[in-house]
Each structure stands twice: as structure tokens, then as C-alpha cells.
Symmetry: C2
Amino acid sequence: MTKNSKMILDIVNSSHDHPTADQIFIRAKEQNSKVVLATVYNNLNSLVKEGKIRRIAVSGKPDCYDNTFRHDHTVCVKCGALSDIMIDDITEEIKSKLGDSFVSYDLNVSYICDECREK
Amino acid sequence: MTKNSKMILDIVNSSHDHPTADQIFIRAKEQNSKVVLATVYNNLNSLVKEGKIRRIAVSGKPDCYDNTFRHDHTVCVKCGALSDIMIDDITEEIKSKLGDSFVSYDLNVSYICDECREK
DNA sequence: CTACGTGCAAATACTTTGCTGGATT
DNA sequence: AATCCAGCAAAGTATTTGCACGTAG
């Protein structure tokens, strides 16, 4: 585990706002003026592959990164804001359909956030 | 509803392989030699906005499009293959947490498909 | 005759890759 | 000395946008 890799893992784990690669890059530069965006991408890819962080795909936005604590996400259909939500774990139900080949699941809920709803 | 828009909707609804914009473009050209990729993208965006089709975001792959029949998806973590799966509808549970602002949800299950598992 | 969809080309956004040099073991 | 990571620049892929024209209401 290299210095950059550890730094990026820490940034993801200590950020609660689902940062994109670019935002992680900016935060990394505050700590290490030399890191470059490609390195951030490379490390994020490794960390995802190792299962140390989670990648969230939202169409129309760059990928976001998150810790691996079990939880789900909401996406506002108007402004794209991403938040956490906790829905009961459905791993067992999925496993009963898929068997051992199951790896994980992602649940993204579309909704209209409070700010957008006011309008 | 224009001719292109109708054609693209038909392609999505009659395809059961979750085509990307590019694949839809190729199929569209088989029917209408003049359509252009940007028009396909524009129409897909409109159709998604109108709720007539569904967009599936999978990180590392281009967005895929699907009909709006309620079902969920599996993604092979090795080869990226996308398939359908039917998990019990959890709309009610989500609504009980989110209330009326709920719009829809997407459930993507990561697993290892049979072909990749052999290796 | 007005509005809107389309073709086209170019621009933008996001992400990956190849190469080289340096750090770490 | 060998390996692997990082910096850098460039390429690659996906998607959007601006403009001008044509068609349909």
C-alpha cells in the first residue's frame, strides 16, 4: 500500500459527500502538491478492485466514490444530489435467486430532494 | 412524437439485450440510412425524460437502455455482461422511508456469470 | 411563417494508456 | 539491481452542443 493509495483511501473514507475523482484529486493536492489526476484514477481503480472502496455510477455525472459501509443511495432527478439512505439488506433474497455467484448489489433510489421540490 | 423518436423507442422496446446508444444507432441505420448518432442521443434523452424508456448506468461502460417493465439487472464483474433478474418489488419499503418524493429505484446486482466462472 | 427535429461538425467531459524516471525493497 | 508507482502528456471513448436547413403544423 503506497502513500498515494493510502491517502486516497483516507480521503474517500473521511468524505461523506460521495466525491468524484476530480474532487478527490483536489483534496489530495491539498496534502501532496505533486499528485496528478491520472494517479488518482489509477489508485481509485485499484482500491475498487481490492474492495476497499465502492464506486457509484450515476448516468450523466462522473463516477463517485464511497466507503464500503453497507448502505444505499438516493439521487435527486432534478439536481443530481447524491445522499445516503438505509434500506433493509436484501442480500439473502438475491442469493436465493443467484446462488454463490453473487458478489454485491447497488440500490439507487431516484427522488426529488427538498430544495428542488420547493420550486 | 417524431419518426426517429418512434423508431428509437421501438428499437429499445424490441431489443432484449440492453443496447447502448451506439448499438441503437446501428440498428436505426438499418431502417433509416440518414439518422445520425447525435440524433439518437438526443432522442434517447427525451425518451428517458418522458419516462418511456429506462437508462442503466454501469461504470466503465456506456449507458444502456431498456424497456420500463419492472425488473432488475445483474452485471458480471468480470466481463460486464448485463442481464435481467426479478427481485421482489421494494417500492413500498422505500416509500415508507422517503415519502412522496420517491420516483423510482434501480437495483443492480454484481455477480460472476457462468462463462467467467468456468475460468 | 414558426417551431422544432435533424444532420453535421466540433467541442466537452471523463477516463485510460504509454512512457520515463525515481523510490523502495 | 529489479520492481513497481508516480508524473506527465497524449490518446481514447462517450456524450453534448451550436448552427443552418428543411419539414410539418
